[in-house]
């Protein structure tokens, strides 16, 4: 078995470990998205976080939006942050909140105050340039698996997800937990029909109740909205891949969470309060989950796919795409980081597949790029409420 000697990462100003050392350009309003993209185009190596939401949000949506954006900015893979706001009030509020929680370098530009797009981009680019110069000085230092939070996600599931890529991911999750690390899995619609299994893995009665309530909450939401849950999940590509019912999808999906105790249930984009395995109550669509996992502090995400879901998340967190489907490994080759489809042809067993995944994960922690990072296949969305 591969031993993880020599893990390296970046200790940032918050005394947290990043496996990347990004300068992120975060838009706080959809009006700033073009400025965010232009600044990032000009300053090589920066990660653009252009915004789709944030105007006229109310109540729970507003709270969710604010929390998600703040927590995303706090992600340990971000070395320094340039905020691009539309108007002063919300921008400065965001900055104050950020500074209350983080010592990381941060600066801002405001579209209405800097004199429109061109001046905002000019001013922002100057600030981002200095941030890149400073971030690039930082040396990697030794880290441990226990310093990491790893998100797990499955998307574009088919029959191979439940047989190969999810079980292999689950075995790696067990190793991370055994080394003292933190893992978050989520997708509440995809525990429906498998709650009885997860319940048994809950650390205590309260956690067991929270798991069941999360699943029941989703069923209630569907019922109240008059939505046919069967119509949403499994989705057409799941059905084409051989998955017939939501229970079947869920039983395959939960394998990615391994076998260890679930220490607590957290909300959308919430940062875990300790180490161990957490379940996040969240919708299931890939970009929304990846946004939430990044915001929760994941430095890395293991993403198991059958049919080849290309979602890359917000760009600050490397997303490792794993498939057990030999066709997907070739048809979506430019998205697949870990091909373990040889399990299907019995050339390797699931333990060997997990070893290979673990080894690749360690390399990616140490700086090997994912295909998604190279393709800049980024998308993010702090979702309102939903399934």
């Amino acid at each position: 078995m591969y031993r993880d000697t020599g893990l390296c990462g970046y200790w940032n100003e918050d005394k947290l470990v990043g496996i990347r050392n990004h300068v992120a350009i975060l838009g706080l309003s959809p009006f700033c998205s073009q400025a965010v993209k232009l600044i990032s185009d000009e300053i090589a190596g920066t990660i653009p976080l252009p915004q789709l939401h944030g105007r006229n949000e109310l109540g729970e949506n507003l709270e969710r939006f604010n929390n998600s954006m703040l927590n995303l900015a706090l992600n340990p893979n971000i070395h320094s942050l340039l905020v691009v706001g539309y108007e002063p009030k919300t921008t400065l509020n965001f900055l104050n909140e950020f500074k209350r929680k983080s010592k990381k370098p941060v600066d801002y530009v405001i579209l209405l105050e800097n004199g429109g797009m061109i001046e905002t981009v000019k001013s922002g680019a100057k600030k981002a340039l200095e941030m890149m110069v400073n971030a690039s000085e930082i040396k990697k230092e030794p880290i441990n698996l226990r310093d990491l939070t790893v998100g797990v996600k499955c998307g574009g599931s088919d029959a191979t997800s439940g047989i190969v890529s999810n079980p292999a991911t689950g075995k790696v999750v067990d190793r991370i937990i055994d080394e003292g690390g933190t893992v978050i899995f989520s997708e509440t619609t995809e525990i429906i029909g498998a709650e009885h299994i997860l319940k048994k893995r809950a650390a205590n009665e309260t956690v067991a109740r929270k798991i069941v309530e999360a699943a029941m909450g989703n069923e209630d939401l569907a019922r109240k909205a008059g939505i046919d849950l069967v119509g949403i999940n499994p989705v057409p590509d799941n059905i084409a891949g051989g998955i017939s019912t939501i229970e079947e999808k869920s039983l395959g999906a939960i394998m990615k969470s391994g076998s260890r105790k679930i220490v607590d249930v957290i909300g959308y984009a919430e940062i875990p309060h300790g180490k161990g395995l957490y379940f996040m109550d969240s919708p299931s669509a890939a970009h929304e989950v990846l946004t939430a996992l990044s915001a929760a502090g994941s430095q890395l995400v293991l993403f198991s796919t059958g049919t080849g879901n290309p979602s890359g998340g917000p760009g600050i967190t490397p997303v490792v795409k794993i498939t057990g489907n030999p066709r997907t490994a070739s048809s979506m080759y430019d998205h697949i980081d870990v091909n373990i489809s040889q399990v299907i042809s019995h050339e390797i067993n699931i333990e060997e597949a997990a070893d290979y995944l673990y080894l690749t994960m360690i390399k990616i922690v140490n700086g090997k790029l994912t295909r998604g990072e190279i393709l800049k296949n980024w998308d993010f969305s702090p979702v309102p409420t939903g399934l």
Partner: protein, 86 residues
């Protein structure tokens, strides 16, 4: 491939043709349909109303009698969780 104890379905790990003979747990099964890679077929008679079992867990219920060798998918099983009629 059979994934759990008490499973009454098997997973095709290659595209299989209608009429193909397979031996599943020493019993001969003749496929009643073509079964695509990743899809399921019954390895024994599953009567209407009986549970469909994969991974050793219930994944749904048969809405018609399903004979051994028949494709098991959305056309002949229902979820117990979905809100099909609202």
């Amino acid at each position: 491939m059979i994934l759990g104890k008490n499973d009454n379905v098997a997973i095709a790990v290659a595209d299989l043709n209608e009429g193909e003979k397979l031996y599943v747990e020493n019993t001969e099964i003749i496929l009643k349909n073509s079964i695509k890679f990743g899809h399921k077929f019954a390895i024994k008679l599953i009567r209407k109303g009986e549970s469909v079992v994969k991974y050793g867990e219930i994944i749904g219920v048969a809405n018609v009698d399903i004979v051994a060798g028949e494709l098991v998918h959305v056309q002949n099983i229902d979820s117990l969780k979905g809100v099909r009629h609202v």
